[in-house]
Symmetry: C2
């Protein structure tokens, strides 16, 4: 996307994983990281070591004469942070999957810049296949945010706040819920002194399979084939973990129902 007034100068509110990974990616593409705010000034300073730019101690001191202010803070802080910022000259956008674009109502140019990915401290990420979900309150802002996302990713899409909420819910499930299940597996194996690492190739293949098969067409296992004797035995093995047993029972019941009528 070629546009006449591309975003060049970006400031960040928040110094967490999303913010840091985005800033580093943009810095590497030659963007100017102007200012960084964190409630913890030292965090903002550490951030600037990586990205250049100026650490700012108070939100009211943010220089809004920049092309874009990206707010990457927990959902319940976005509105509060927004209202503490001085009058906005550039674009203001947040990186949340869940929060509506309406949180910025009344501002001039605003939008959403949601990278659909999980970011881990210390683990570099290739953004090229990360979907960037863009929304804006006018076409110019939309184009500018799309063009910005397009400098780091090949998957930029427009999606409205309502649909984005469902995408975020689905993302919470495949990321946070899958991770919870991994952690249960780890808890169980630890009591038997079995290395969780043994599961890693299986975990990876289960994920990679999705590039070939829809999940509804790749379900396997004892619940899928309604193998009651294995299921009962598994539940007995979970007697020491009543919470995990409950989850085992609920999920297997759902799988049986889904695939065996």
């Amino acid at each position: 996307l070629k546009i006449s007034n591309p975003i060049q100068k970006i400031s960040f509110i928040g110094s967490g994983n999303v913010s840091t990974h985005l800033a580093v990616a943009f810095k590497m593409k030659g963007f100017n990281i102007a200012e960084v705010y964190s409630p913890n000034l030292m965090h903002a300073e550490q951030f600037c070591v990586l990205t250049g730019g100026q650490a700012v101690e108070n939100l009211s001191d943010i220089d809004t004469d920049t092309d874009l202010i990206l707010i990457a803070v927990p959902d319940d802080k976005i509105e509060e942070v927004f209202h503490k910022l001085p009058v906005k000259k550039g674009i203001i956008a947040h990186t949340s999957g869940f929060t509506s674009i309406k949180v910025f109502s009344g501002s001039e140019n605003y939008g959403v810049f949601y990278p659909l990915q999980t970011f881990t401290k210390g683990k570099t990420l290739d953004f090229s296949d990360v979907p960037f979900c863009i929304e804006a309150n006018n076409p110019t802002t939309e184009n500018r945010l799309q063009a910005l996302a397009g400098t780091v990713s090949d998957h930029v899409l427009l999606i409205n706040s309502e649909d984005r909420k469902y995408l975020h819910l689905a993302a919470v499930m495949v990321n946070n819920f899958a991770n919870h299940i991994y952690s249960i597996a780890d808890d169980i194996l630890q009591t038997k002194h079995i290395d969780f690492k043994l599961l890693l190739p299986l975990i990876r293949e289960t994920a990679n399979k999705m590039y070939y098969l829809k999940p509804g067409n790749s379900q396997t296992g004892p619940a899928h084939r309604n193998d009651i004797s294995t299921l009962e035995d598994h539940e007995k093995m979970l007697n020491n973990w009543p919470e995990y047993k409950k989850l085992y029972h609920l999920i297997t019941t759902q799988i049986i129902k889904k695939y065996n009528g």
Copy 2:
């Protein structure tokens, strides 16, 4: 592992995914696939097109003068299949994570040959990082099975039937349960006409993260940060899917409890 009497000739009982993928991998390493039995003769014949060897219509016709007969059938069929085989001269082993080695009691040389991985029809798999869990009723058989697994994999381990059952339970969780969660996400997105493929980079990164971080140290999301307002909103969004809502509630409750006391 160098041994004096390596397995060279292998027959397969069952022509499903595990069986086919193993046979193809061994064939490529120069092993002789002798016979293949399937209750459906045509399946056994198709199998032999890939691997060579002879399709066999009746279990009682299997030539047991082979180094290894690998039984790769559903758990509840292993014992039945075993008892229908003629007197066994070579090693008899099954590929199950769940079934005890004791199922072969009374035989001379037997064991377990469990590849801890999910196998998909039509998707070639690199076995090199697949853990092979070996168990046998005597040291010679143990060595021979270990050596065989070592020809295709760098991760061969000895594990007894009791521990293997827990490993299998954990495998069912990280594979089948994670896949069920993917399918729920797909169901939700379909009703909103959002492409499930958007989640694939997230799904893959969530899996790959495990190579860097233990799952208990990489939990994130609204439940992890006890963000009640997002959780309540998500549950409302699931009102049309009472079963999925129930699962959402149970998992988020467990995550909150685990990480927020």
